[in-house]
Every structure is written in C-alpha cells, then in structure tokens.
C-alpha cells in the first residue's frame, strides 16, 4: 500500500501541469471556477486544443486515435486539469458513444465517426430519456420501423443536453415489442439535420438553456447507422452506463474548485470585526464538507487502484455518484449561504452596473446542482442497484 506516484507518473504529472498552466487563459479559468456551464463553441475550442496535443480522447485506445493512457495517467490528467481550473471535456461523444462505436460499431462507423469526435467536428447528444421513461428507461416508446434500407423513427426524447447544438444523436429506439421490455430496443445514430426532427428548448431552474425536448416525426435513418444488432441496443446502453461509472474515480476532483471559491468569498464577507470564513460555525460547515470530499477522493483512488489492478470495484462507482452529487449540492448551497443577500441578485435590470461581481454564479450553480442527484440514474435508483447487485437484497 502506498499513495505515491511512480517517477514516470510524476514526470507525466509535471508535463500536464505545465500544459494547463500555459494553455488555459484566465477568462476560461474564471468561468470554470464560478461553475458556469460553457457554451458549445467553448467546449469545441477546448477539444481542439487537446486534440492538437494528441490528447483528444484520453480514455480511448491508440488504434482509434486515443492516448492509450493508463487509468492512473487519465486520473493525473483530470487532477491537473481540475487543479488549473480547466474545463472538463464534453463527454457525450467521447465517453458515451465513442466507446460503443469502437467496441460494437462497424468498420464504416468507426472510420466515419470516431475521428470527428476527437477533432470536435461532430457534436453528439444522447437520445435516451423520454417523458414516460426516466429512471425506468426500459419503458421507452420511440418506435423505429424498418422500411427498405432505412428505419423510420417516430417518438419523443427529453432532457437531451445540447440537442440544439448537436450534429448527431445516438438514440435508443424500440424496433420490436417484446414481453421483456429490455428486448427489442435498438441503438441508432441519427443525423440531427434529418427532416422530421424538431428541437424544443427547456429552460432549467437556473434559467439556462442546455436541455431540450426532441421530437422525431417519421425521421428516416439509413440502416447502416444501426449500431450492432437490431434489438440488442439495451445491452450496449448498459455498457455505456458501466463505462460512465468507470470514470467516476475522478469525479470528486472538480469539487475542490468550489471549496476555493467559497473560501475566498467567505473571507470577503465582513462580520463585525472578523469575517465569515473565521466564524466558527461557518468554518465547521466548510471543514465538514472538505473532509467528506477527502473521503470521496480516497474512495475514488481505491476505485482507480482497482481499475489499474483489473479488480472489480463492486458498487463503489454507484457510491461515488451518490456521494459526489450530495457534496456538490452541499458545497454550492454553502456558497449561496456565504453570499447572504448578494445571492438574491440573479439578473440585472435596466443597465445596472453596481452589482456583485460573481452574480449569478453561486445561485445558478446551486440550482443546477439539484439536477445531479437526478440525472444519470437518480440516487434512489443507484441505491436500488447497490441493494440488488451488491448486497443481494
């Protein structure tokens, strides 16, 4: 047992540190630090920056243009990125469909799609959730009917992140009605410019637009854009989920940025002769969160070590998701608390200027964080999964 990196890993760490120090400008750092969600063009620019280094796909094998990094190298990359307040890569192409394509896709699909994910030319969105199929994804109703060498897709997707910016959607559809609802589901790659697709924005509680409803009305999808076998899409979906959780070792790394910003904000809040940061009650609450973040970090490191050693991590990935989401909610809540009345400043009216500089980041971050215990499998569903799969209940 030891917590040390190897000399090679230390050299790698220094290389990453130097890269982020040199290449992330202060404007971008400030956006990341204040929890602001990036615009698609900013994600694309960052993707191009990494791709130019050959790091466009940090978790992919080299044969598909990935870095071939070890899990530890990927962890170091993420840790240095977080340390430098660099953004996270937009993950839906890189982590949710890319790996499915290089695992199950046809050669033509690999050649056509993978390079354009790495280069940032294509932007993928995920067409999974439907109005009646949220936590219970298997009840999805969007139908795809074979018509010659096309599928004709009709239905409705919801909570589709950045559908308005996406060039493509990977989409679960029902190609057959079977008694077991997980059967008869297929995975299609859909060009978002196809006729019959309509995207309706949904504002979230933070008053931002990043999710959408996507209406599909007899959208014709070439049969060659079916991934793997017809009716087996559910299995590929599960691989996606497993993989998403496999990345969870690094989940906690981004929380440190909130601690830094809360500390600096609380240090600026006067409380008589002292500051809010020096107030024992406030410091206690912050220390409690810092400690729980350390627990998350070390749970992550154990998961990483298991990945390196090729061991099964059991339910730890689901546990990381649960704890991460709870902690991001608590730290953003504390951020809002630190602001006091300033948190009520959400938008200027008229041409107001004399307003808090960080408006509305804390409140928007706090509000947006409410989503984290719901998406990617609500925490209640995660607990069901752990109870069933890991505890045998």
């Amino acid at each position: 047992m030891n917590l040390d990196y190897t000399p090679d890993e230390i050299a790698f760490q220094q290389r990453m540190r130097a890269f982020f120090a040199a290449n992330i400008d202060e404007r971008l750092r400030a956006l990341v630090r204040t929890g602001t969600r990036l615009e698609p063009r900013e994600y694309v620019a960052y993707q191009q920056l990494l791709a130019a280094q050959g790091w466009g796909a940090p978790t992919w094998p080299t044969e598909y243009g990935g870095t071939g990094w070890t899990p530890t190298q990927y962890y170091i990359f993420e840790a240095e990125s977080a340390r430098a307040d660099a953004p996270q890569q937009f993950h839906q192409g890189l982590e949710l469909i890319g790996p499915v394509l290089f695992t199950y896709g046809s050669d033509a699909q690999k050649q056509k799609y993978l390079p354009r994910i790495i280069s940032g030319e294509d932007w993928w969105c995920q067409g999974y959730s439907e109005p009646g199929a949220g936590s219970d994804l298997a009840s999805l109703k969007t139908r795809a009917v074979r018509d010659g060498d096309h599928y004709v897709v009709t239905g409705q997707k919801i909570w589709t992140s950045y559908a308005h910016a996406a060039s493509h959607m990977f989409c679960l559809v029902r190609t057959e009605i079977r008694p077991r609802r997980q059967e008869g589901i297929s995975l299609l790659l859909i060009d978002m410019k196809s006729p019959g697709i309509r995207v309706r924005p949904i504002l979230t509680l933070d008053e931002r637009h990043h999710v959408n409803e996507v209406f599909l009305d007899e959208v014709r999808v070439p049969a060659e854009d079916l991934v793997g076998e017809e009716g087996k899409g559910w299995n590929y979906g599960k691989v996606l989920l497993d993989r998403e959780r496999g990345l969870s070792a690094a989940l906690g790394l981004r929380l440190g940025q909130y601690v830094r910003v809360v500390k600096s904000r609380a240090a600026a809040v006067r409380l008589g002769a002292t500051t809010l940061l020096a107030d024992p009650g406030f410091r206690d609450k912050l220390a409690q969160i810092e400690i729980e973040m350390l627990a998350l970090e070390y749970m992550g490191l154990r998961t990483l070590a298991d990945a390196v050693a090729g061991l099964d991590s059991g339910p730890r990935a689901s546990m990381l998701k649960i704890r991460w989401s709870e902690l991001i909610q608590r730290i953003t809540e504390l951020w809002v608390e630190a602001l006091g009345y300033d948190a009520a400043c959400f938008a200027p009216l008229d041409d107001a200027t004399d307003l808090p500089a960080d408006m509305p980041s804390p409140m928007a971050s706090y509000l947006h964080a409410r989503v984290t215990t719901i998406y990617g499998g609500a925490n209640e569903v995660q607990r069901n999964i752990i109870a069933r799969r890991s505890l045998g209940l």
């Binding site: 959730s129 009646g132 949220g134 936590s135 219970d136 009840s139 919801i158 909570w159 949904i202 504002l203 979230t204 509680l205 008053e207 809040v269 006067r270 409380l271 008589g272 809010l276 009650g281 406030f282 909610q329 809002v336 608390e337 006091g340 009345y341 300033d342 948190a343 009520a344 400043c345 959400f346 938008a347 200027p348 009216l349 008229d350 107001a352 200027t353 004399d354 307003l355 509305p360 409140m363 509000l367 409410r370 989503v371 215990t373 719901i374 998406y375 609500a378 209640e380 607990r383």
Partner: protein, 355 residues
C-alpha cells in the same frame, strides 16, 4: 388556548383562497413575468378587500387587525407565488410610519414601501449601519432592498451618533440612486446609494425596527408555510400519478417515507409559525425566542421540503416550466431575508441564555 379561527378570520381565509385561485394560476403567472413584478389588478383587489389595512391602526382608518390576519393573507400569497410587495407596504410600514397621508395611501393601494437596512458591512445585524444621518441628510449604501426596485418610499436605517435612526426617503429624493435587480424569485429588488440625500426622520429607533422586522419575519414565515404546503400537495399528487417500473412511484416505500418526512416538516413548520405569530405582542425577549426559533426551523424544513419536492419530481422538477422550482427559489430568498437559519439560531441561543 386554541388554534381556532374566529368567524371573521374564516371569511378572510375563504377570500384569500378565492384570490389565490384567481391569481395563482401558474401558466398565467409565468406569462406575466416579462411584464414586471406587479399585478395592478391584484393589488387593487387587495386594497378593496381591506387586506392592505389589516395592520394599520383603526385611528388611522385601518382595521387594527392581529398578526393572525396577516398570517392568513401571507399563507395565501405564498401558496400562489404572489410577487406583490405586501410585507414592506402593509406590515413593516404601518409599524414604523405614523403619517396619516401615507397610511391612507397604503390602505388605498396607492403606494409601495420597502425597508432598506441591509449593508455589505453588517450582514444580518440590524444594529450596525454604516449609512450615516448627519445634518439632515443620509449618506451610505444599502446592498439589498427587498422589492426595492418599484418602491415609492424607502424606510432607511442610519447611524446618528451612537443611535440607530430611521428615515423616510421618497423614490425621487435627490442623491438617491436605485439599482434594480431581478431575484431568482422574479421579484424586483434593489441596491440603494444615498449621497447627501435629504431625510425625513421617523420616530422609532432600533427597538421599533427590531419589532417591525420580527413582524415582517413572521409574515414571510407564513408565506413560506403556504409555499411549503403547496409543494407538499403537488408532490403528493405527482407521486400518485407518475408511473415508472409499471407502478405509481408513490408505491415505492423509500419515496413514501420521504413524502412522510415532507408532510412532517410541513407540520413542524406550521406549528412554529403559530408559535411566532402568537408571540409577536409578547415582551421582546419572549418575542425574540419565538421568532428566531421559528425562522430557524422553518428555514430548515423549507429547504428540505423544496429540495425533496424537486427530487421526487425527477427531471421535470428541475425545469423552469413547473411551479416546483419557483417555490424552491422563493423559499431560498425567504431563508436569507432578515437573517438565515444560522443567524437566527444564534439569536435564539442568546435570547434563551439571557432569559
């Protein structure tokens, strides 16, 4: 000892329920947002129904009503997500202003009044103003004025030598700059800068201010309880209709227990609301204990109810298109207003230890 309403109070509650039904339609509420914070028809109706006169003394033409009537009105406004500046105008102002003309304008629905006490340097401490009143003028900055963007008058706290003093400042006063801000609650708040602004001093000092703010807190707590119960009801209804995994989600025990905890939190909050409301006329130490205990606990339970209502609604609960998240946002503002839960827990402890 009882918690029964008088016949008149029962009528008032019925009228508030009707009002909330009429003005509380969420689709209508949401469509009205771009038009600004106020609904003039609703405000006039409130004047006609006498609600703006409840806290005005009978001698000044008001109803001289009790805190219970104010509570009933505010519960309804909370349930309906009303954005009218009722508390500043009809609760705080009558407690601090005795000018008959202004009181008459309040009753008639012809003026809106906001309290300007918050400063960057004092967090939630009412007693520590850096704004000064000297030589008949006010100078300083008020960092947050609830409903301040559209107020006709401001009640401003300032330091005059060692004493805290209160002042009335009209919207168009010289040297007054109003920076309007929209809150996450879609209300229009403001920051104020005062530079040698002429002042019209009011009678009371810190004691009067603290008492008026305690009344305002109790009123906002009633608003919070109305809002929490609205969340409870819509979440319970959602649990009974939303299906996942072939069953209504309300059939899952873990969600049932969460729903029970929401209902329990609402019961606690309502109990604390009665405690605070019925102690507003008690001696200051007892009033502080009750108001601060209630502010603390209702803040905590409101947070729990709002967060869990969003959670139990799932994805749709996080959209802007349902009232759930709007109640959350309004409850977060009420939590901060006049001191958050931590501030009031400390005030409670100090008042308890002094008793």
């Amino acid at each position: 000892m009882d918690f029964l309403l008088t016949a008149e109070q029962d009528l008032l509650r019925d009228s508030i329920t009707r009002f909330a039904l009429e003005h509380g339609d969420f689709a209508k509420w949401r469509r009205a947002l771009p038009a600004g914070p106020h609904n003039q028809a609703a405000w006039s109706q409130m004047a006609e129904l006498g609600w703006l006169a409840i806290a005005v003394p009978e001698a000044a033409g008001g109803l001289g009503g009790s805190a219970v009537e104010t509570m009933l009105v505010m519960e309804g406004l909370g349930r309906a997500l009303s954005r009218e500046p009722y508390v500043g105008t009809a609760v705080i102002a009558p407690a601090l202003i005795d000018d008959p003309a202004i009181l008459a304008a309040i009753i008639a629905g012809e003026t809106r009044i906001a309290l300007a006490v918050a400063e960057t340097g004092n967090r939630f401490n009412l007693a520590a103003a850096e704004t000064t009143a000297t030589g008949g003028t006010l100078t300083g900055t008020k960092s947050f004025v609830h409903d301040g963007a559209t107020a006709d008058w401001f009640i401003v706290s300032a330091q005059t030598g060692p004493a805290l003093t209160l002042h009335l400042v009209p919207r168009d006063a010289p040297g007054l700059t109003i920076t309007p801000i929209r809150g996450p609650d879609h209300r229009h708040h403001a920051r104020l800068t005062l530079a040698n602004t002429p002042t019209r001093p009011l009678q009371g000092g810190l004691d009067a201010l603290e008492s008026a703010v305690d009344r305002a807190i109790a009123a906002h707590l009633a608003e919070a309880v109305g809002s929490m119960e609205a969340l409870r009801d819509m979440t319970l209804a959602y649990l009974k209709t939303r299906e996942q995994f072939g069953a209504t989600i309300g059939s899952f025990q873990a969600l049932q227990h969460r729903m029970v905890d929401i209902a329990l939190a609402c019961e606690e909050a309502r109990s604390m609301l009665y405690f605070a409301t019925l102690r507003l006329d008690a001696p200051a130490p007892d009033r502080r204990i009750a108001v601060s205990a209630a502010k603390t606990r209702i803040g905590q339970t409101a947070r729990f109810v709002a967060h869990q209502s969003v959670q139990l609604h799932g994805g749709i609960g996080t959209s802007d298109e349902l009232p759930v998240s709007h109640h959350l946002k309004r409850l977060m503002i009420i939590e901060t207003l006049y001191g958050n839960s931590d501030h009031h827990r400390a005030r409670f402890a100090a008042a308890t230890d002094a008793a």
